[in-house]
Symmetry: C2
Subunit: 329 residues, 2 copies
């Protein structure tokens, strides 16, 4: 059996209360006593059980992170910074991939509550907002990692999607493109990017046709298929603004397949700036999200919430940055 606090108490000839105090570095006692207990802990290779301490009211020191898919580089990069920041604050994180599936969303939310995570970071567009509101009303700390707060009263951190969409499109228009197709996701973030796309047209005195707006889900394959579909329809855009790098890469592959040169005949802009944007040849022009800053910020907020420090419902928007590489002209 692994040693318990009783074993340490016996070994060091003190009561468990005293041992508890040295575990938590609290209370008053003779230095010699503290040292004696520490020695005993070392000797027995004692590790306090977090289960037991969680039961007494202290938290589990665990965060729940819900993402659509951890194998998507955007989310894995985000998860990495969240993980690091969490550990800096003594917390671990349990990651669950929801696949945009309402059943999984509900299941994991329930599961993680049973595991008594101290707080949730939700990077997944939730279908069923009421579940999230229920969380809040149960007093469980929650921060959204998407600016999708309609009907939800929780702090959020996100990139400024509208601005990102606006800047990408403006860049394209300024470069002389007039027939720009946007391939968005079914996610909420995309609708703001689409608004930005529209606004850029308006600002430059261009009209943008509804025909030029496509939606799909974030997979390379879907980007490819969508692009081919666009071409088959007889549309001939000179530029494509894809709402994430995955889709952008699919477009590039589709273009290559049918002999369209990027960027000479077709300019492509992605969104996110994941590692994928730097591994294509030519490298992908994309709208970068400050992933590290966002990850750190979201952890800082949830920690503050957990500590009860921060009860405001702040909504933080990070500026996107257009990174021009080789797929636009």
């Amino acid at each position: 059996m692994r040693p318990t606090i009783y074993d340490v108490a016996k070994e060091s000839k003190v009561s468990i209360a005293t041992v508890s105090k040295v575990i938590n570095n609290s209370g008053n006692m003779r230095d010699s006593t503290r040292q004696r207990v520490k020695d005993a802990m070392k000797r027995l290779n004692y590790r306090p059980s977090m289960m037991a301490s969680a039961l007494t009211g202290k938290g589990t020191e665990t965060l729940g992170l819900l993402v659509p898919d951890i194998s998507n580089p955007f989310f894995s990069e985000l998860a990495r910074t969240i993980e690091d920041r969490a550990h800096e604050n003594g917390m671990s994180v349990i990651i669950c991939s929801t696949d945009y599936n309402p059943e999984k969303e509900a299941k994991y939310l329930d599961l993680l509550q049973r595991k008594q995570v101290d707080g949730f970071i939700v990077a997944s567009t939730f279908q069923d907002k009421s579940l999230l509101n229920e969380l809040k009303s149960n007093g469980v700390p929650l921060v959204m990692l998407t600016h999708d707060n309609v009907g939800l009263n929780a702090p959020s951190v996100s990139v400024d999607d509208f601005k990102g969409g606006y800047e990408a499109t403006s860049y394209l228009i300024s470069a002389g493109h007039e027939n720009i197709v946007i391939i968005a996701e079914h996610a909420n973030s995309s609708s703001m990017r689409i608004y930005g796309y529209r606004e850029a047209h308006v600002a430059h005195g261009l009209t943008c046709s509804e025909e030029n707006i496509y939606k799909t889900t974030a997979l390379v394959e879907n980007g490819r298929k969508t692009f081919l579909e666009i071409v088959n329809k007889g549309q001939t855009p000179t530029a494509i603004f894809a709402c994430n790098d995955l889709i952008a890469i699919g477009v590039i592959q589709g273009a290559k397949e049918i002999g369209i040169n990027v960027p000479m005949q077709l300019s492509v802009i992605g969104f996110d700036d994941t590692i994928l944007a730097t591994t294509t040849v030519p490298a992908l022009t994309t709208v970068a999200q400050p992933i590290s800053d966002m990850g750190r910020k979201v952890v800082d907020i949830i920690i503050a919430e957990i500590k009860g420090e921060d009860l405001t419902t702040e909504s933080v928007l990070f500026p996107p940055e257009l990174i021009v590489r080789g797929t636009t002209k």
Copy 2:
């Protein structure tokens, strides 16, 4: 306060023992009673605390997964299949990125033991094997996700690195290359790939020079730098076998920088077959690891271990598969 088993007991006018039985779907009781309790649970929105039940001896239903870096696509893809398979078996997973850093390895191992994870999946080459052996002797289930078992008595699942190295190199030799550089990692898996590389030379009657063996860590940037260094040394390989996709991509970028055409002047083979291999243009020839199969298998083994079913120290090797795409000739 969230409702406890006592609240449910009171609400349904039974004892907590009865409630416990319906939670665990065990024991005998009138159907009507069971139903009454279930209704009460629903009404109160009761969620059994896993902390409390873990404390009584049932597991935490949580797995610890140690990887070098979750933002590395190979590991995030692996983590995804592990996560799914774990949930199929009622388990969650806490992921920790060790960065090949011995301090982090030790820290997370300790932390997760405190959290009483039911078992460990270690995909990180551990510097300090003794920590792992200590785990085993504490009776904590452990499975390695790398075939790095020297001095370690734990089951493992891995790709057959030797075979992968052999096949990649053989392919290159058969294509007429005689000056093949291998860029490996400092990891153990790489040493088997290097042996495979050597063996292929021998099998084809070629001698392979030690000069042609380089080592670095898995980053695109390192691949690029290493390649440039090779060229600066005046070596002129016609082919490079990189021990993972990240490094391979770095090589391709480096080659492009100095005007070397891939695959015309230089063939490049990667290893892993992550999403990155499919997003380069041309797509990367690489040695594929059956990531999904490996992830599922490793979970199945750890579950068996946890259940005490499987006490053998099996070592599973999955066959790699050379996938020829556009970077070799």
